[in-house]
């Protein structure tokens, strides 16, 4: 086993220059421009969709009674779930001393940040009067009212805003030493000034590094329970209610596993083209991809267990509405989506048991896309199929996303991709200083002549 995490022959200089060059080279690659143009056009679609929403209200979406949560909440949960892999890679794998996280944590964290930005848009847009979004926060006001702290929706506000803040802090703290490198390497005045300001005078002093390492571990320790809490609270939005198909104790663990599953799928979807295009195979090796595929397989099995338990508990509960909910999923009007979900999330990832397929880029890329689609379908099933037929047959109905639902969804993909393209061009997508520690020379040789040991 044991393929390396960094190809042999790299030095401090080569690592620094190779990753730094992607940002510092003067000429913007043509394919970057093409990619950014497409993403930016999609982002414009988001502005059109949101502009129309502000002008005409949420009636332009497909939601109505009984399905009052549609694409907005599906996409909110989908995006925020994707974000979770970034935190998992940067925090949990750091605490577990998994060195292979080093070359993927930076862009995974950026992915988290951008995914949370996309996710945050949906509940705000769904408010109906989004310009009053600040009412969600507790502040002394002339109405003499406070948010209801017993409501999972208020917990969600706190969880998601804390998550966005902490993810940003973690990402930015990780960037500081690399910003200092860019400040010292940049040949343009603007580059030196901007990176210089952002690096805040970082000089790599031993005392600073000492505190920096402490701070980084503390942030990792704080992010780890945070990431678990965020998706748990997202699942409470459903589980605390009484709707059949939502009111289940399996929701928190099953949502967290699903989030990591979707997130790793997205990291693979991004990593495979990036490492190929920017020639980063030395840093993001097959061993990284193999490890990520294994995590995806493991979390995929947890998700499959979740589907199984939902079905089992519905039968075991002896509650006719619960049993109807499952029958309706299997054979009701949305049954094609349910079976597509089972195919995408349960059947397809089983291919990852085969080492040959885990090491085959085309297969891995295809499976990760299939999983992303599957996780979107999962939220569609949970939200729409549970709501459209609940206790009272007289209030049953059907739901379909309208063109504006799709425009908003495609628009947030544009926002995500635009931010990602800008990130790749202006900030190092792999942590340079952490990659330096992977170079063999980075180890202090205790046996060297006049070595430390003689003095201790």
């Amino acid at each position: 086993m044991s393929a390396p995490f960094i190809e042999p022959g790299h030095t401090f200089e080569s690592v620094t220059d190779k990753i730094g060059a992607i940002v510092l080279e003067k000429k913007t690659p043509r394919s970057w421009l093409v990619g950014f143009t497409i993403s930016f056009a999609m982002l414009m679609l988001l502005f059109v969709a949101l502009g129309n929403l502000l002008a005409r209200g949420i009636g332009i979406w497909g939601i109505n009674v009984p399905v009052a949560w549609g694409f907005d909440i599906i996409n909110f949960v989908w995006w925020i779930g994707i974000g979770h892999a970034g935190t998992l890679i940067s925090a949990i794998l750091l605490l577990l001393r998994q060195q292979w996280r080093t070359s993927i944590n930076r862009f995974a964290e950026a992915m988290t940040l951008f995914a949370v930005a996309c996710a945050g848009l949906y509940p705000i847009a769904h408010l109906g009067r989004p310009w009053l979004a600040y009412w969600l926060f507790p502040y002394p006001n002339t109405m003499a009212m406070w948010p209801n702290f017993r409501s999972p929706l208020v917990w969600d506000v706190f969880a998601v805003s804390t998550y966005a803040t902490v993810s940003f802090l973690f990402w930015f703290v990780g960037l500081i030493p690399d910003l200092a490198t860019l400040r010292d390497r940049s040949e343009s005045r603007v580059g030196r000034a901007v990176y210089g300001m952002l690096a805040m005078g970082w000089r790599g002093s031993a005392l600073h590094w000492h505190r920096y390492e402490t701070a980084y571990l503390l942030l990792a320790g704080l992010s780890t329970p945070l990431v678990v809490s965020v998706h748990t609270i997202v699942s409470f939005d459903f589980a605390v209610s009484l709707v059949p198909g939502w009111h289940a104790t399996i929701f928190p663990p099953y949502f967290v596993a699903g989030a990591i599953y979707a997130g790793f799928a997205m990291v693979l979807t991004l990593a495979i083209p990036l490492r190929w295009y920017y020639d980063l195979e030395d840093f993001i090796t097959m061993r990284h991809l193999d490890n990520m595929a294994r995590v995806m397989l493991a979390t995929g099995l947890v998700v499959a267990y979740g589907y199984m338990m939902e079905t089992f508990i519905a039968w075991y509960s002896a509650s006719s509405v619960e049993q109807f909910m499952i029958t309706n999923r299997f054979f009701g009007p949305y049954n094609k989506l349910y079976w597509a979900l089972i195919f995408c999330n349960v059947v397809a990832p089983q291919l990852l048991w085969f080492r040959r397929l885990r090491l085959n880029l085309a297969w891995l890329f295809a499976i990760s896309i299939v999983v992303s689609i599957g996780m979107w379908l999962e939220r569609y099933i949970i939200i729409v199929v549970s709501l459209h037929r609940d206790f009272l047959p007289s209030s049953w109905g059907m739901y379909h996303g309208t063109i504006w639902d799709w425009a908003t969804f495609i628009g947030t993909m544009g926002l995500f991709m635009s931010l990602l393209f800008l990130f790749i061009r202006f900030l190092p997508m792999i942590s340079i200083f952490e990659m330096r520690t992977m170079v063999p020379d980075a180890k202090v040789d205790e046996e060297a002549p006049g070595a430390p040991k003689a003095f201790i």
Partner: protein
């Protein structure tokens, strides 16, 4: 002509081992006020410099504590005292439902304390620092390792210290203008 005041004398090294060896030699020679600069964190360097800084975790603990108490207090005060709502006679102080808020506030304040504490203790942002006057120092964020014996060290002597650093196989030795 009056000489410009000096921050210290700086030696440049090629790899972390040479830096650690140099620090040990400098301490053995009696120097105490010095700082090392490296492109990545090196545990042995902090050990060699006898850095024992434990303030940050303590600050973070109190930051987290403030968030924890504050979060619970916010939810309790608003839901029990300032805006009580009687829902079928259920208890007003329903503390389990305040835990998510308490938890999120704890993490938020602890994380903010970590980052602001890190910057404050390190004195960042710092627009000017003398070490940047040395041209080679630009490589401290790429591949080179530096040791600077500062002029405030009681044993500092322009000629002697310079000679000492030249004798421990540094790649280059430079005076750091203040």
């Amino acid at each position: 002509m009056k000489r410009a005041p000096l921050h210290g004398i700086m030696a440049e090294f090629d790899n972390p081992t040479a830096l650690v060896v140099a620090i040990h030699k400098a301490r053995a020679a009696g120097y105490r006020v010095m700082d090392a600069y490296s492109p990545f964190p090196i545990e042995e360097v902090s050990e060699a410099l006898h850095i024992h800084d434990r303030l940050l975790p303590i600050l973070v603990f109190f930051g987290g504590l403030a968030g924890c108490v504050g979060g619970m207090a916010l939810a309790t005060w608003t839901s029990v005292i300032d805006y009580p709502i009687n829902v079928g006679g259920r208890p007003l102080f329903s503390w389990p439902s305040f835990l998510p808020i308490t938890f999120e506030c704890t993490v938020l304040l602890a994380a903010l304390t970590t980052v602001l504490g890190l910057l404050a203790l390190n004195g960042l942002p710092m627009p000017y620092h003398p070490v940047f006057n040395v041209p080679q120092f630009a490589l401290a964020t790429r591949e080179k390792f530096f040791l600077c014996i500062e002029a405030t060290d009681p044993q500092f002597d322009l000629v002697e210290t310079r000679r000492f650093l030249e004798n421990i196989e540094a790649l280059s030795v430079a005076e750091v203008a203040d």
